[in-house]
Symmetry: C2
Subunit: 414 residues, 2 copies
């Protein structure tokens, strides 16, 4: 068996995927396998008992949002009794930042990979601070979430369709030349996204006050494009999954308790290990003692060759980890050690337009001992608080070792 | 006399200037000293006889636009007879890219320096290709110009006012962290500009088709913010002008025939020398033999510490001069040799957020023999054609030498 050839195929599929943002819809209407008694969440499978504070907070918020619970106690009862099921977003071609909790009536972006035909989904970005994805669930948080979903999203859906969809690979290529790395920094991408959609938002509603407010909401949120970016990375990564004999990582995701990966040639199996706590810069009044364990599906960006892997494009955010621009360059250089190739379409200006390091090879991670670099937001460890900082984290190497052992067993190298 | 102290004052004034885009109006209504028989143009004073092809083309187009001429022959007669006067934009606190021709009924941006109170002006950007500022003046060019001025600008003016104005120093600081250098590359700035104004454009007209078209026009033009940026740089540079004993350059401008500079401590006098031809990348079908001499007021960006001086922020455009990202870094490093200080608010991420080289000191230019680096568009040398490329140019050193001699004479150092 030729692992290199299999990896060529997997990573080529990943790079040739052409994710287009084609629309939006309610989760229950568009996400395959979504059910009324189901909540999707970030990372590998989790139970209430083992769920972190922010995950419990987001589950509670989503069940209040759906009118199914009034308190955390009720939410806990519903989940523990099995009346409400929890399944990973990744089991439904979906991704969600931080807790990533997506409930049936929430609106989600629909991304279609024009090269391979697969579709992916992600919820709507709420902005910074006290937000559901960081485990906050106060009335104010849910009221805002309701506006974003029930008022903004139907207009945005129509605007996306009127515009004929948005080529997200192009958008990302451009944003990487504008100081974004596509995970923690999506500022240029969000301006681009806003500027591209605004002409159609105006046409999508006869209420000009509403159009104005929606455009302002997108333009003022430097993460507004993060969720369509994540769905796009998921579309790329999914198309690399399932290649016989490939050692390329096709999913990295965290639920706040466990980090989990999946490997292209190893089917639907998750390899998991306990998450680390991110190092980073904390908002005033918070310290590392307040931090939740690493959480979120946003590591799909690094899986697809951007985010921490494209750190060299985003010197403006190295200060999150008290680094210098030189450290940003070195971060990207290090990732070439554990990846299969250089991206065809995502390039790094300060490295002479070298392609971003793309396609994590579990063999290289285990051989070198270098784990993927992940940029991330940091949630408070208690439910209900929200974001407390942003920084850097590494996944545990044990998952990669375990996956390599499984690979050897499955393909008869043991 | 303490030249260093005078230069400190001049450059501090330049950096502390806080240009806000506050509105728009017709040139005749808002530009001081604008008259019905007057055209403003880029660079130092020029006559029809000595004017370059693109300058003649733009003058002709402006007079057709105003209904005062029907052909280049008529335009020539009007100018040579003195019925129509030509004066530099810079004599009227204004700036215009390339030919920079501004006629009485054209709409202009109004920028107000909130620190020192001075106001500045610039016309509306037409996009790329066959456009008036590059000397094209066909019916199609003038029809588009008419839409931009008579249909778009009144709505844009209202939107700027509804938004309470736009802080251009902030916008530039952000854009410099997004791969723009603010002269040849204004892509991120133009998206930012579009995203910031779009919510107010929607409110500024009840015609949603028009609002949509205006937003799309701004968002699709990667130079839409150039003209407000230039007016902002003019506001900064003007506030540095007129400091007794200062050797800081407060204007650099070209009319296609002559390059001209003014110096803070040397009053309204222009020091001029023949322009060079830019080196650069040509559009398909054109070569350096087609190029006009260096033209435009856009060198106000380098005068204010951005553009070619901030080249290190914009590795994505070094290919215009067949360079590598390392050359972009070196371009900025070289400019520290001839400038007074590092900018307080404009910083360069890949140089550890060092401030951009700011305040060209004629003494340093003459001592080192290093002339300012200027990024520029390239016009066809014949009237009527338009843009043929983009690249790099240096002003002639003779102007700086002549200015230094004048300085020595005026201040008694001779």
């Amino acid at each position: 068996m030729d692992i290199e050839k299999a990896n060529d195929e997997a990573v080529n599929r990943m790079m040739e995927a052409r994710p287009m943002l084609v629309g939006m819809g309610k989760a229950i209407d568009v996400i395959p396998g979504m059910r009324d008694d189901l909540l999707l969440h970030a990372g590998p499978p989790i139970t209430w008992e083992r769920a972190s504070g922010p995950m419990r907070g987001a589950i509670t918020g989503a069940l209040i949002y759906e009118g199914k619970a009034k308190s955390m106690e009720e939410a806990q009862r519903l989940v523990e009794s099995g009346a409400i099921k929890l399944e990973p977003c990744h089991h439904h071609q979906s991704v969600g930042p931080m807790a990533g909790v997506t409930s049936p009536s929430m609106w989600v972006y629909v991304v279609e990979n024009k090269t391979h035909g697969n579709k992916t989904y992600s919820n709507v970005n709420e902005g910074y601070g006290k937000v559901l994805r960081y485990g906050a669930y106060s009335d104010e948080v849910l009221e805002r979430l309701r506006w974003l979903n029930e008022v903004m999203s139907p207009v945005l859906a129509k605007a996306i369709e009127l515009g004929g969809g948005l080529d997200m690979r192009n958008l990302l290529s451009e944003a990487l030349h504008m100081g974004d790395e596509g995970h923690n920094r999506n500022k240029a991408g969000s301006f681009l996204y806003t500027a591209k959609l605004a002409p159609y938002i105006v046409q999508a509603t006869s209420d000009s006050e509403l159009a104005s407010k929606i455009i302002k909401t997108l333009g003022d949120n430097a993460l507004s494009v993060l969720n369509p970016v994540m769905a796009s990375c998921k579309a790329m990564a999914d198309s690399a999954h399932g290649v016989e004999g490939s050692t390329i990582v096709s999913v990295m995701a965290r639920n706040g308790t466990d980090f989990g990966i999946r490997v292209s040639g190893l089917g639907e199996r998750w390899f998991t290990a306990p998450v680390a706590t991110p190092r980073g810069l904390y908002f005033p009044g918070f310290t590392e003692a307040d931090a939740s364990g690493d959480i979120g599906d946003s590591t799909i960006t690094e899986t697809a060759g951007i985010g921490g892997f494209a750190m060299a494009t985003a010197p403006a955010i190295v200060s999150f980890v008290s680094g210098k621009p030189k450290d940003a360059i070195n971060a990207s250089l290090e990732m070439y050690e554990i990846t299969h190739t250089e991206h065809k379409y995502f390039t790094i200006p300060p490295l002479d337009f070298r392609g971003t390091p793309t396609g994590i090879d579990i063999r290289k991670v285990v051989e070198t001992g270098i784990t993927p670099r992940v940029n991330t937001g940091i949630a408070h460890k208690e439910a209900g608080v929200g974001q407390v900082g942003a920084g850097l984290v590494r996944p545990p190497i044990e998952m990669f070792q375990e996956a390599l052992v499984a690979f050897a067993e499955q393909y008869g190298f043991a």
